[in-house]
């Protein structure tokens, strides 16, 4: 009995070791990343963990990546940065100098990408990141950082355009933003857009990241009789903002948020109260977006949901695009040499489930933002580059008239 147990045990141990050790002794191309799996950004960080792994598995399933005349598999080396920027920088140093990974994938959030891209630049190893949209990341002349999120400065671009076409046209706008790299870039880009559109900026307020009490700001919004409220912040703040708007009966004609609205978890937490909220996304799971590995974006969204149990949003699609960009670039370069891959990434131009992947001179992608709105607890595309898609529910009724 005990011998059988021992044998069973050692068999298990062997199996575990093989499974665990596989990436180490096969000659895989290892992509390294440090992502928020725990801590305050864990909620969005998981999109990247799941997207990276999903894309790598899919590419391997279809035979891997062609390097010269050999087919090679991809592998992922992932660390949890605990939502701590300093730890994330240390982990990227470790990925490059000790783990000797071949290429880098990015973290989530602009402040992380801003810090971590200094490592990829220093070690001259390309990093394709899908989590940082701040223009700051790409304004430093770095050569090894590429980003698949549309520029933060233009997040509200399509929204402002839509504002001018709404009836009745809003005139007074409040701009609220959190004090971090991404949201500051959003605000900086939005101000001139609002001025150009002839809208009055009645409030322009920066608030502390992780603020949980918006009662004062909401009272000011009500007092200033603002028509449209644009908030650039984090999901937790926006949840609190909407809940507190309801309890203070603050209902501007419309409000729009940089994050939250595309995420199913966010809409679920708010239930009916999420209705009427506007947001934006550079990605919708449309069957028109064809993809070499996943078929198309609609198919991808379905498979992703089946595998992970939640709907992907643009963060997930952007993460997949990062892996695909690296795979395409390795094939084009015919090697994993950092310099060659870097040059190949800069020249990429291919269709993917996320949209056409092509980077500008500064390393950032440019994709138009589609304005979306929650209508009857469902996400509806409202306005894109070609004008209105579906009719927006506007103006937002008073809270007690819903």
């Amino acid at each position: 009995m005990s011998r059988a147990m021992t044998r069973f045990g050692s068999a298990l141990l062997c199996a575990a070791l093989t499974a665990y050790g596989l990436p180490a002794f096969a000659k895989d191309i290892v992509l390294g990343a440090s992502v928020q799996l725990t801590g305050s950004s864990a909620n969005t960080g998981r999109y990247y963990r799941d997207a990276y792994q999903f894309a790598i598995d899919k590419i391997n399933e279809k035979g891997g990546v062609k390097v010269g005349d050999k087919q090679e598999k991809l592998a992922l080396k992932l660390y949890d940065n605990q939502s701590n920027v300093n730890l994330s920088v240390r982990q990227y140093v470790q990925l490059v100098s000790q783990d000797k990974v071949d290429l880098l994938l990015g973290p989530f959030a602009s402040n992380f990408a801003l810090a971590d891209s200094a490592i990829s630049e220093k070690y001259k190893i390309p990093m394709v990141q899908g989590g940082g949209a701040s223009d700051q990341i790409f304004s430093r002349g770095f050569k090894y950082i590429f980003g698949t999120l549309a520029p933060a400065s233009n997040y509200f671009g399509s929204t402002v355009e839509m504002l001018t076409k709404l009836d009745p046209k809003p005139s007074k706008v409040a701009l609220l933003y959190a004090d971090d790299a991404f949201d500051v870039s959003v605000a900086k880009g939005t101000r001139p857009l609002l001025k150009k559109a002839g809208l009055t900026i009645a409030m322009d307020e920066r608030y502390t990241s992780n603020a949980s009490d918006f009662n004062s700001l909401l009272s000011q919004i009500k007092n200033a009789n603002v028509d449209a409220v644009l908030v650039a912040g984090h999901e937790t703040e926006i949840l609190n903002f909407i809940r507190q708007a309801k309890s203070l009966a603050v209902a501007p004609k419309m409000y729009s948020f940089t994050v939250g609205v595309p995420s199913a978890d966010f809409r679920k937490a708010l239930g009916k109260d999420a209705d009427y909220a506007f947001g934006m996304t550079a990605w919708l799971p449309s069957a028109k977006l064809k993809d070499k590995w996943f078929g198309d974006a609609a198919q991808f969204a379905q498979d992703y949901k089946a595998k992970f149990g939640y709907d992907p949003d643009y963060h997930a699609a952007s993460g997949v695009a990062d892996v695909e960009a690296i795979a395409e670039a390795i094939e084009a370069a015919g090697s994993t040499d950092h310099q060659k891959v870097r040059d190949a990434i800069a020249k990429l131009n291919f269709p993917s489930l996320y949209g056409t992947i092509a980077f500008a001179e500064n390393g950032q992608i440019d994709l138009p933002q589609t304005v979306i709105q929650v209508q009857d607890e469902k996400l509806v595309p409202v306005y894109d580059a070609n004008g209105f898609v579906e009719k927006p529910k506007y103006p937002m009724p008073a809270w007690n008239a819903r």
């Binding site: 608030y207 949980s212 009662n215 004062s216 309801k246 309890s247």
Partner: protein, 287 residues
């Protein structure tokens, strides 16, 4: 003028919520001399408990508060009896370390158990309000404020008038004398910590109805509670209420009239000021 009135109301209601959050921390700190760095994590657990009661059993978060408080009392009693009593006479640094460790463990267990998804406790009236002319008072916050007053006064009466309350104060003042009078410190410490954690649990339930819950809300709530306890003083639950109100009002005014990034600057500025001018808190006894 309307705006000022509204901002003041906001600040007072926020202060009530702050006071409930800090009540348990101040009690444990004052009596056991343990600065419980896991206090916010216990608030978080209380919030999740209320959320589960509401979502799966349909128990109203305000009616469910006693259940949450009693369960959390049990948790607190167990933690003190099984863990913190081992270090209660050790230097303060040890208790800081162990409660910090507890905070980390609880937070990560919460992520494993509940995932990092956001939760809100959203009863039908959570978003309703009562209006007095132009001033709007959110109902959930008003109820939370009422509960804050009840709990604070209740604590005050409990400490002054009941046998257990007197024993707790006696132990805080002079352990040797208290033991000579038949107080069993291990049990008493656990009771005190249990009450502190029970209060944290109740605060969590209230917090979940006005804000959002995720496993990581604890650390900032601990910091806030810490500031309130110092501002108000540890001697007296009423001091905590005053501390909470002062902080709530100052934060609301600062955000509205100075700038939204200065809320924390103002609140921790007040903390420093109180430490300089009245080191034992606004209502604390002066030496």
């Amino acid at each position: 003028m309307d705006l000022l009135a509204q901002i003041l109301v906001n600040g007072i209601l926020l202060g009530g919520l702050y006071a409930v959050m800090a009540l348990g921390l101040a009690l444990v700190w004052g009596v056991l001399n343990i600065v419980n760095l896991a206090h916010g994590a216990f608030i978080m657990l209380g919030a999740y408990l209320s959320w589960h009661l509401f979502t799966y059993l349909g128990i109203d978060p305000f009616l469910g508060l006693p259940i949450t408080a009693i369960v959390m009392f049990g948790v607190g009693y167990g933690v003190q009896r099984g863990l913190l009593n081992l270090v209660v006479r050790a230097p303060m640094f040890n208790t800081l370390l162990i409660t910090f460790g507890l905070e980390v463990v609880l937070t990560y267990l919460a992520q494993l158990a509940f995932s990092a998804d956001f939760r809100t406790i959203n009863p039908s009236y959570a978003g309703s309000h009562v209006a007095f002319g132009p001033v709007v008072i959110p109902l959930a916050r008003l109820m939370a404020f009422g509960i804050a007053i009840v709990l604070t006064v209740g604590m005050w009466v409990f400490l002054l008038r009941t046998k257990l309350g007197r024993a707790i104060r006696a132990t805080a003042q002079n352990l040797v004398a208290a033991r000579l009078y038949g107080v069993e410190p291990r049990h008493l410490y656990a009771m005190t910590f249990g009450i502190g954690i029970g209060l944290a649990g109740a605060a969590g339930g209230l917090y979940g109805t006005v804000s959002q819950i995720n496993p990581y809300i604890g650390a900032t709530l601990t910091a806030k509670s810490f500031a309130i306890a110092i501002i108000g003083g540890l001697d007296n639950p009423l001091g905590v209420l005053v501390g909470g109100l002062v902080l709530g009002i100052i934060e609301s005014l600062t955000v509205a009239y100075v700038g939204a990034t200065f809320g924390d600057v103002a609140s921790f500025g007040v903390l420093v000021l109180v430490l300089i001018v009245r080191p034992s808190g606004i209502l604390g006894k002066t030496a």
